[in-house]
Symmetry: C3
Subunit: 667 residues, 3 copies
């Protein structure tokens, strides 16, 4: 990227009256230099089978070009036209809940050849038409693609072939998946039952892995078509998204981001998060770290909220805080979904930069200041390079396996524990990368934090053991090592494979009820000295016990341990502790890993993010994620605060407004 991109999703097709010139004038006033178009409006561009009408695309491209605004063109394949479903009802995905119904988006079977035929045709028609237009800088293939739980007969057939390819014989499959249980054995491939009703977690999770592979294949297929038309300098991207809990919460269960991103030139992401008094920056940080790690490079925020929901209408200052937080994580683009609030249909209350009156409003006015600053500071802020010494290892396999074998109560899932760990690192200003099970460059990190790695191959656990032996510091959550990659519980004493490295073992576990840690070993106070949901009855072998359970019968068992192994150190957390305990433990691990530094003297709500800019200088962002003004002593060498163009001396006290921030480029 040559410059920061400040963008909006733009839907000329949705406008209640002719607005193009006025919209562009308002965009220019706000410093918008990018729009994304076309990804949602297949039925407008192909009103009937084989009849094409790209007039809205053409006119928007021309008008944007004239205004100096760049355009990303999306392939309009995530929402299918009425005529297609009427002609070919079977393009709708059959799911475990039955056949599909027309109406919503993302309801088709992404492996259906009829759908693929029409999708390919509209992609080729559209992309071939726009690729040489001077406004176009790149493409987004599809939109927030998932597998939509497609599981009809064609998918089942492909899955059986996939299984035969993978396992060779039914005997091997029966053994590895334990299919003798409840008479589930498959004694010939022809008998393979529909996986939709299975109660076998290994089989169900394998099907989920297969479905994620469908997504990877679909996106690669789209990217390959677009690549045929892509001009030099143009890029292909995709807007990956996260597990949705009314906002972007954690690892996406239905897509393998790392695999699917391979077909993209630049990684893109959609990040939505709580706002107002609940704005913390955590999702911006996690989403950014996650997406930056996909290709180990800068990334695009292809969608984030402008006004959005009534409970997200930003307080004064928050839109700015959010925009620069994205940059601080390595984003080169901040694009709002969307320009204008929609007047009909479904997402009417997911408001854009403009309200329904299409005039100015306080949020739009604040966007103007962002656009101005982005333009002015782009040379100093674009392409921020980050080099983190800490990482969090996330795993689709572990997540899926814990969805099959839930924690007691069923409310705490994999992503809750992942976020419990990630958020604590964020709060202590530890910059993180996000690793996946395939990551091989573990040695570059001083600290690796591992949420419950419930399903993992021997090879992965061996790699993690070697990392510790070689000097790394690792923090394992409970249940790590429990099962292999097929969710076959390991037959070794638990924690299997990593027991020697962690210096502990257990053969029993329980659901805690009112259990605490003996003598509050982390000094978090009675209200925080709690554990929940899970307790492994750990016996140390070589480990030092950091915390024992306080329990009338099980007080002799350990809860949290630390073990020296080879050159490194392994922490094992045998229960789900409170956030305060997890924070204290991770602080200990950070210190052990030698990562405790000046940034750690500050903590949430005062957030520090940094990196090197293109001039090779260190740029540091200091964010105030609170409604109260904050002051801190700037601990680094003298520099320039870029927003105010004011010099800042080492040791100087710096003020932050409520929801405010500064950017200091060290001299």
């Amino acid at each position: 990227m040559k410059q920061l991109l400040y963008g909006v999703a733009y839907y000329d097709e949705y406008m209640p009256y002719e607005r193009l010139d006025e919209d562009i004038a308002m965009m220019k006033a706000a410093g918008i230099n990018l729009v994304r178009i076309a990804e949602s409006t297949w039925s407008t561009h192909e009103p009937q089978n084989g009849v094409f009408d790209f007039s809205s695309v053409d006119r928007v491209l021309d008008a944007m070009h004239k205004a100096g605004i760049s355009v990303i063109v999306g392939t309009p394949t995530y929402a299918v036209p009425t005529w297609m479903v009427k002609e070919h009802p079977d393009v709708l995905a059959e799911t475990p809940h039955g056949p599909g119904r027309y109406g919503a988006r993302q309801i088709m079977d992404i492996a259906n050849p009829t759908y693929l035929f029409y999708a390919e045709r509209i992609i080729r028609k559209l992309i071939s038409r726009v690729s040489k237009h001077p406004a176009v800088i790149g493409y987004q293939v599809d939109n927030e693609t998932k597998h939509y739980h497609t599981s009809g007969p064609n998918i089942q057939l492909r899955f059986v072939k996939y299984m035969r390819e993978k396992f060779g014989t039914v005997e091997k499959l029966n053994q590895e998946f334990g299919l003798d249980y409840w008479s589930n054995r498959i004694n010939s491939w022809e008998d393979f039952p529909s996986v939709v009703g299975t109660i076998n977690g290994s089989l169900g999770a394998e099907f989920s892995r297969f479905q994620r592979q469908l997504v990877t294949e679909f996106l690669a297929w789209q990217a390959a078509i677009v690549n045929e038309y892509k001009q030099p300098g143009q890029f292909v991207t995709h807007n990956f998204d996260f597990e949705w809990r009314n906002y972007s919460f954690g690892l996406q269960p239905d897509v393998d981001h790392f695999e699917a991103a391979k077909a993209m030139d630049i990684a893109g992401v959609d990040i939505y998060h709580p706002s107002q008094h609940l704005l913390t920056g955590k999702e911006i940080s996690y989403g950014g770290d996650s997406t930056r790690s996909l290709k180990n490079d800068n990334y695009f925020v292809l969608e984030t909220q402008a006004q959005a929901f009534p409970n997200w209408t930003p307080y004064p200052g928050q839109l700015r805080l959010q925009a620069f937080s994205h940059l601080a994580s390595g984003a080169n683009m901040v694009e709002y979904w969307h320009w204008h609030s929609i007047h009909n249909s479904f997402e009417t209350y997911w408001k854009g930069l403009l309200s329904h009156d299409l005039g100015s409003n306080p949020t739009y006015e604040e966007a103007k200041t962002i656009g101005r600053d982005f333009a002015r500071l782009s040379p100093k802020l674009v392409n921020l390079k980050k080099k983190n010494k800490a990482a969090v290892l996330v795993s689709n396999e572990a997540l899926t396996s814990m969805a099959w074998f839930k924690l007691p109560g069923g409310e705490i899932a994999y992503n809750d524990v992942m976020r419990l760990m990630y958020d604590r690192l964020y709060e202590m200003n530890i910059g993180c990368d996000i690793l996946n099970p395939g990551s091989t460059e573990l040695g570059q990190y001083d600290l690796i934090v591992v949420p419950p790695l419930y399903a993992a191959s021997d090879e992965l656990l061996d790699r993690l053991n070697a990392y510790v032996e070689g000097g790394g510091t690792i923090v394992y959550a409970f249940k790590s090592g429990f099962a292999n990659e097929h969710i076959k519980v390991r037959t070794e004493v638990q924690p299997a494979k990593i027991g020697d490295v962690c210096g502990v073992q257990y053969s029993q576990f329980a659901e805690p009820s009112g259990v605490t840690l003996k003598d509050d070993p982390f000094g978090v106070g009675a209200e925080n000295n709690t554990i929940d949901v899970w307790m492994e009855l750990l016996t140390p072998t070589t480990a030092e016990v950091l915390a024992w359970y306080e329990h009338p019968q099980w007080g002799e068992y350990a809860a949290i341990t630390e073990n020296k192994y080879g050159q490194g150190t392994a922490y094992y957390v045998g229960c789900l502790p409170s956030a305060a305990i997890m924070g204290k433990l991770l602080e200990r691990a950070v210190r052990k890993a030698g990562l405790w530094g000046k940034d750690q003297e500050l903590s949430f709500p005062l957030i520090v993010k940094s990196g090197q800019n293109e001039a090779g200088k260190t740029v540091r962002y200091y964010f105030n994620y609170s409604g109260q003004p904050q002051t801190f002593l700037y601990p680094y060498g003298s520099g320039v605060e870029l927003l105010s163009e004011r010099n800042v001396a080492a040791g100087e006290a710096v003020q932050l407004e409520r929801w405010g921030f500064v950017i200091i480029e060290e001299d």
Copy 2:
């Protein structure tokens, strides 16, 4: 009506043993002078296709006539016989949840021609047989008719034709409903997808309107058949019912009462309400006002509770209180569902006037006193005429639109806000009419209260604006004016169309969290000075601000305003306030409208209702809706307390027993 009717629904067919003579003797003892029969027992009257057996009808008519009890005959069409469904399974309505299952009532497709054929035949057979019987005074067509969510292919086909009729071209439809969104465009009528799965709120709401029209047509069709046989002096009625929240709560979403009532001679209604310590009279009042307004005339309470559920078993005195409350709202009939408690099937615990033992019980004994008083006081109480100066405007369109675009949290719906406003007027003894969007006689009211008028045509808003300009007082709830009648959000600054009249504008809104009104402007105390769910960030243009938000960031925005416009005054409530705040605001509006009078010096639980009787005298009911005795000073001219036949002087202190009441006819 010549006299008050005191009735019961009577099911000779359900009796466990021969009871007719004994039942009639007990009815006579209780002053019952009306029964409703036949509406539930099609399978008894037509045991096989084309085989008719009206013996239970005949014998009941003869016996009732002999006893001097009048009869309303219901058409038995709301519950279909087993043989019909066995022969023609497609008479069952296909709904969004799938094909129908036999068992319950109200499961058929009311547009199915097979059903209509059989329904017409049984109606003609039955009504032609009974119409000249001297016991018969009128007819009830069907029972609590709704559309039962019928949405099978035949309904879909009719809906598409309806849409083509309404919009002419797909282009116009696409534009008005915003169907470009998510590729939902319909580019030829043949492509029109099943509306069952739609996510487009405009389309979904239009389908609901179409379904309500099916109900109107069905009832008019039945009434037309019955009218062919109706004798002079006989009437056709229908028992409309309300949104059901385990009792009659508010506006019926699935029927347009105003339209459907046009085919009726007299409006009828079913009213069920909480009882015991939760008895307030609110549902009796709302249901009565609503039904009286349908034809601006006296009405029938065709069903209300005798003993009903275990939590409704009336306290001593409550059955009387309820019966006379119906009269005070303008009812000419109080009919219980039902005479006897049913011994099998489904509604066994919805008890009638008699318990399952079919003997006397305390509730039946109390009914005897009612029957006696009805008979004695009928000349003075029948045909009570009411002339209200206040009205509440309710709207099916607004209700449906807010079901599609829910308030945050999803728990507060249109009817909650409607009742929040109506109930406050009730508590301050303001008599109300209920208006619908088509009402043109606005000028006769001094005060119109408007629950969230989220979807409204230009014409309606213009009419309301003219009302204010002409001197009326109006109170608008938040979201009023937001969208047009197709739920297309208006592109003007909000509140659209009514902004000038209200003297406010806003472009943003939020979900309040712990927000109050600054300095408790209505003096309701800290625990009541709260708002919930919704806050529009209002800026006054010409309005006086009655309340500002107390909020760290949004304290400069107004919450509630008052504006002089033309000769009138408009209040705008930009949030959902507590009941106490709403009460205080409505009190202010009542005073502004000049409606504060003597009745307003009393308040709930002391309820006053009044009207003019046939002698042209004013009759006033004073009800004590509480378990504690009450005293009040009678503020009007001297009169006679009708129950005790005692003279009451102006200014005299009158005592009310717990759950008691008096009726004073002014001299």
Copy 3:
């Protein structure tokens, strides 16, 4: 039985690697002398249609025999193989939720002839092969059989024939079931609608009874096949189970245990219960009493928990406490489900005696002590004979009827009230039998406790009346007598048929809200002096009132009464009282019945169970169901504490460890 059996369910087929020799060695070390095999692994034994492979059965039988461990062979029919469903999808039960899906167990239509054909073939193949093997001591037919809600067209057809057989004419059916209601009349058998959608409680409950009969027939059919091969000394049993509320809660709604047990030689049962700090022994006691009463003989605990769920991992001592509690109720076998924790599929967290590491663990170590004691004490503890003077009458009909006609709120069901009564008897150490409506030997009991007997025939009520008249003491819960066996509400004054015996009557009832009993008549303190959900407005005729309602309007009605009738006494409880009140009332009834004795001087958590052993001596178990040590004075004649072989003198103070127990054989 000649000896106590200490067993495990064993699945050689599920083992992740060859384990047989090691498993047997570990079993022997733990005193395991029984395994159950084969009931879950049809697909292993018949991998393809007609291809059989019993190698795992053969090798396990041989190895067990060699080790001196007995074997129960289960018929593997409760979980069907993949090939069968692929060939014959219609073997899956169609239920009210639609057609079945392959995956789980217990999904087939137990009346489907294809299923029955294959089931019979595998049963004959398996049983004929093993019956003469010296290791085999008996058979379990199927596993936790229920009807799985099978209700497809074939079931419907059989049900209609069943109804015609039962009622003869539609007229009689219509009358008895009140089918005129809502036009549900069936005027010819051909019109009989699918019962799946019915809203008629009589019809729905009759269908449930018919479904329970299918279970009885199915189990009898299996037993008859097995009996053809059964050798002298071998037995046929079945593991009945209970209403499941995450543990074995109460009466099984879907099986008539008494009827189904007739085909068994020995009654068997599965009992699972809360553990850790929630362990009370109540389910062990109820499940044992219930199963012992089926054939009035000793019984098998064919499944109970070893480690099971994380919240059930036993505290030290609890496994022992549980095992001997089963013996104290008359069990001759304690068998764990299961030997080893399963490594794949579904029940991975329902852990066995061994954890997934298949090594030792604290629970297994405790089992060793049990095995040792069982072997040593078997002659003194096996075949314990119990003779109880109190009984609880449970009724499938009453349970089903109250599922159709729920108590207000819908949360309290039949089994809640049954357990409210049973648990109080347990807590005061009253040994109970469990009676069913068909029980004719009522006279042997001094006290019969009757949970809400909502649906009961005249004959049953007459029998109970005669019991009281003859000198028995009875305690009726509310709603008893209300309806006949077809859930037709009785037309007599309530409580119908038993009103004279109870000396009360009522015609009204209500849902209490904050109601108490006047003047705390049972002295339970304010926090316990409460009633919930239901209050009948009782008027005594001849009864003494034990408690009046405290209520502003209904204070003149009685809540709980006692009545002398003939030689006996009847208590009637017209409301749902707190546990404390119910306990006090039952204490009064126990004293009235002359059953108050030495054991009643102790109470929960100190539980006494007793019986006579084969030597004719009285054996008494004293269990401490708490985490605190307990002491009690041994009140009987001198004896020997069997675990310690220590003499105990009359009046001696005996110590119980936390979760500990002693067994004293009186000299």
